[in-house]
């Protein structure tokens, strides 16, 4: 069978379709369009807002918080416990208190000699050192 013959026969395929009544089909389709409301696109609910998952998550948080709390209470107090950071502004401390804080941190403040110097005060060697330091 050649392609031309195949195409000729193909036009004869589906004769059973000739029994479908276009008027009856139009009636049925219009009835269905009228009776079945158009479905709105489904709104996707985020996974985390689904009620069972929220309950499970809340229960897990409660269990973890309880376990952590019990562990903290049953643990003997250590020196580290006294090092709980406190929200205190350094500006509120007096000079004496600041010195105490620095002493407690074993912090040695560097000593700088702050002498105002203009470029014109530098000799050639000092300018060279300065430029080299700026170049990195």
């Amino acid at each position: 069978m050649n392609e031309h013959e195949l195409e000729r026969l193909a036009k004869e395929l589906g004769r059973a379709g000739d029994r479908v009544d276009p008027d009856a089909t139009a009636r049925a389709v219009l009835e269905r369009l009228a009776s079945e409301p158009e479905r709105q696109p489904a709104v996707r609910i985020p996974v985390w807002t689904r009620r069972p998952l929220v309950r499970v998550a809340a229960a897990a948080v409660l269990v973890l918080a309880t376990v952590f709390g019990v562990q903290q209470l049953s643990r003997p107090a250590t020196a580290a416990d006294s090092e709980i950071p406190m929200m205190v502004s350094l500006g509120e401390l007096a000079a004496v208190e600041l010195t105490e804080v620095l002493d407690s941190l074993d912090y040695e403040a560097p000593v700088y000699e702050l002498v105002p110097v203009a470029l014109g005060d530098l000799n050639e060697d000092e300018l060279t050192v300065l430029l080299e330091s700026l170049e990195g």
Binding site: A10, G14, V20, L30, A34
Partner: protein, 182 residues
Amino acid sequence: MTVPEPVGPADDAQLIAAWRAGDELAAAELVRRHTPALARFLAASGAREDLDDLVQETLFRAFRRIEGFRGTASFSTWLMAIGSNALKDLRRRAKGRTVVPLEERELEAEGGNPHALAMERDLLGQLEQAVRKLPPMQRDVFLMRAQQGAEYGEIAAALETSVGAARVHYHQAVKRLKAILK
């Protein structure tokens, strides 16, 4: 429900625009106009006793998603693509049910030699079975082209593939059908 009376001659694009604006007459005219070709296409694709339901389902889906019709394919070819998907869905749901035997073909008696007519009927029956064995894409392209006379461009647009791919599917289908029917 009474069917609205046929409207005057208007092309598909005008009827589609009218339906989008809510005109039921336009929808009824589109159904009347395209039901015969769609029914033949679906029957050739393998629809049997469920043919009426399938035609209605196809048209219902088409009107519901008419916004998706961009006019790159003809309305007729677009309907066939939707029909092919509706048939696939039906098959999926009906999987495992009893297969209904091929129904008797009703070749139009156009006179002539009864022996030749019987041979033609036999050949057509073989072709119909062979077409149903094709992979869905090859079957759709073959029927749209050979049975419905659609151009490759609109077949490609309706089936969301390229023109080149549609040509390949068609030639694969012809090759396979020839091999089955020789």
